[in-house]
């Protein structure tokens, strides 16, 4: 159950592109054609499925406060979490390089279709973001971390596939000249993000993972509630 919940939550509710804006750069740059978008999306799923669990292990056994306990009691109070950025990015960069070499050797067909996208991925914010969110959301076990990696990757895949399909069609529309290309893509992505917000109610009753944005929105709602209460008072008087 926990797995199913995390799976759908990472794909729809906390979608990498529409909810947190990670991986926007490659999302905008590589979404002109459906075929290339599929290639990049597949590569992202692949790399995230490897790096998120790996970084989870790193975080759990090396970086967290007290994580070095397995080395001996005298190491128990070390806290290396300030090193997590550098460790995560080094893992990602090496893994991407390694994956590239392995795929080239054993699956040349896959390599040819992913080829140019693999090196790009090392600097894709979605990959590092996945690991950092994994850390800040305190994902509890290795299999959950794997699940999180795969499902966030699928979320990215879905987003880039959708925008590529829309951009292929929009070429035949009469878009105002200054908005052509980048501008209209931004606005469509915004509208799609609004659409994806409707998934937010899908998982109520789960753990409330509040992003900063929703906290701000909530404060606003509270303000509105106060407003309403004041109005009601005035009316009564």
């Amino acid at each position: 159950m926990e797995h199913i919940e995390l799976f759908f939550k990472s794909i729809f509710v906390d979608n990498m592109v529409f909810a947190t804006f990670l991986g926007m750069c490659s999302y905008l740059a590589v979404s002109k054609k459906v075929s290339t978008a599929v290639g990049l999306g597949a590569a992202v799923i692949f790399v995230m499925a490897i790096t998120v669990p790996l970084n989870w292990l790193l975080d759990q056994y090396i970086l967290q406060e007290g994580a070095l306990k397995w080395l001996g009691e005298e190491y128990a109070d070390y806290d290396l979490s300030f090193l997590s950025f550098i460790m995560f990015i080094a893992t990602i960069a090496t893994m991407v390089q390694l994956v590239e070499i392995i795929v080239e050797k054993f699956a040349p067909a896959l390599y040819n279709s992913l080829g140019i996208f693999l090196p790009l991925i090392a600097v894709n914010c979605a990959i590092l973001g996945g690991s950092l969110f994994m850390q800040s959301r305190e994902i509890a076990s290795l299999d959950l971390a794997f699940n999180y990696g795969v499902s966030s990757g699928i979320g990215f895949f879905l987003a880039i596939l959708a925008i590529a399909a829309i951009r292929e069609k929009i070429r035949y529309s009469n878009v105002p000249a200054p908005l052509r290309g980048l501008g209209i893509t931004f606005i469509i992505t915004g509208l799609m993000a609004i659409g994806f917000m409707s998934f937010g109610g899908m998982l109520t009753g789960g753990d409330e993972e509040e992003t900063t944005e929703t906290v701000v929105a909530q404060v606003d709602v509270e303000k509105d509630a106060k407003d309403l209460a004041n109005n009601a008072k005035e009316i009564l008087e």
Partner: protein, 215 residues
Amino acid sequence: MGVLSKKDLKLITDPLADNNPITIQVLGICSALAITAELKASIVMSIAVLFVMGLGNFTISLMRNIIPPKIRIIVQLIVVATLVIIVDLVLKAFAYELSKTLSVFVGLIITNCIIMGRFEAFALANGPIRSFIDGVGNALGYALILIIVGFFRELLGSGTLLGFKVLGNPIEKTGVYAYGYENNGFMLLAPMALITVGIIIWVQRSRNTDLIEDN
């Protein structure tokens, strides 16, 4: 501007308008959108990127002749990651609340495409001083968009600027609220950042028609 030659000055002014990293080069979108619900967060983020880009460009440029081309991406990432750790620790020490608001987005400066993009496009081919100026210029271009977006989202979304209630108090109905004005809470939600940037691109390209793409 006695210190800067005309060519160097162009390195700063170009990214501010016609070669803006966000609206023209399409680099560094991720962080630009996620943290602009408040003006203050945008300003702090801009300063962080300014620091990392200036020094990062400078460092990479110094090392450009000794980095083996095959592993240059890893070297670049390590340099940026080190600078970002410094920024993160400073923020945690002096502005803890703000560092909570920015959360993982400070860490994501590492993979901010502007930084890698400028390393590849400029710092690997130019001297340290010019690279430093280029880094500062691009960071300023980035800051400009961030601050514009943050300004409108905070003003229209919560009626404040940097936390000051510039439009009056919505609860006591002072200022413009006395005439029935309401805050547009929608501006605070994530999708409006995208649409705001879209509108900025629209305005910029209709002023300068050379920038228009043909789909």
